[in-house]
C-alpha cells in the first residue's frame, strides 16, 4: 500500500518535473547549439593506455631473473656451479621432482603456463630460453 502510494507520487513528481523542464530546455537549446558546433573533440580520451604495447622482456633480464630464482632455490647445493649452461641433474644435483618444482617456480615468476611437453624438455638452464 505504502509502496504503491510512493510510486504514484514519485511518478507524478517526475512528470511535473519533465513538464516544467521541457520549455526551459527548448529555450536554452538555441543558445547551446552555437558553441556545440565550434567544439572539436581533439583529445577525447587523453588517459588511454595500450596494455598490449610491445614491452617484452629482454633475454638478459629473463636470464637474470631465472638465475636469481635458482640461487634462492634451496636444493641447489653450490651456487658456484650455477651458470647459463648448467644442467639441473648433472651439475646442480637436482632430481626430476626438483626440476618440476623449478618449472613451477618459473611459471609463477613470469606468470605463464608451461605446457607439459615443453616442461619435459627443460633439463638445464640453457634450455630455458
Amino acid at each position: 500500500m505504502i509502496r504503491a502510494a510512493l510510486f504514484q507520487s514519485a511518478r507524478c513528481a517526475s512528470r511535473s518535473v519533465i513538464r516544467t523542464q521541457l520549455p526551459a530546455s527548448r529555450a536554452i537549446a538555441p543558445c547551446l547549439s552555437v558553441p556545440s558546433t565550434c567544439y572539436t573533440p581533439t583529445s577525447r580520451y587523453p588517459g588511454i593506455r595500450c596494455y598490449s604495447a610491445p614491452a617484452g622482456l629482454s633475454k638478459t633480464e629473463v636470464e637474470g631473473r631465472i638465475m636469481d630464482m635458482l640461487k634462492n632455490f634451496d636444493k641447489v647445493k653450490d651456487a658456484s656451479k650455477l651458470s647459463n649452461t648448467s644442467h639441473f641433474s648433472n651439475d646442480l644435483g637436482l632430481d626430476s621432482l626438483d626440476t618440476v618444482e623449478v618449472v613451477m617456480a618459473i611459471e609463477e615468476e613470469f606468470s605463464i603456463e608451461i605446457p607439459d611437453k615443453e616442461a619435459d624438455g627443460i633439463l638445464s638452464s640453457e634450455s630455458l630460453d
Binding site: D95, S96, L97, D98, V100, E101, M104, D116
Partner: protein, 68 residues
C-alpha cells in the same frame, strides 16, 4: 620413465599436491620435503600396475590434504 603417459600423470599429481601444500598447517617447507621424499622413495617402480597404485595413493593423499 617407461610409460610417458604415466610419467606425466605422476608429475601432474606432484604439481597438484605441491599447490595444495601451500596452505598446509605445518608450513609449505615441511610439506614439500616430505612430499619429495615420498615421491623419491617410489622412483624405482618399474611395473605399470605398481605405478598406477602409487598414483591412486597420491590421489588419496590429495583428498586428505584437501579435507584439512
Amino acid at each position: 620413465m617407461i610409460n610417458p603417459a604415466l610419467r606425466r600423470q605422476v608429475i601432474n599429481i606432484y604439481k597438484e599436491l605441491l599447490n595444495l601444500g601451500r596452505e598446509y598447517p605445518l608450513g609449505y617447507e615441511y610439506f614439500q620435503t616430505r612430499l619429495h621424499k615420498a615421491f623419491a622413495s617410489q622412483a624405482g617402480l618399474q611395473n605399470d600396475e605398481e605405478i598406477k597404485k602409487g598414483i591412486e595413493r597420491a590421489e588419496y593423499v590429495k583428498k586428505e590434504v584437501e579435507a584439512l
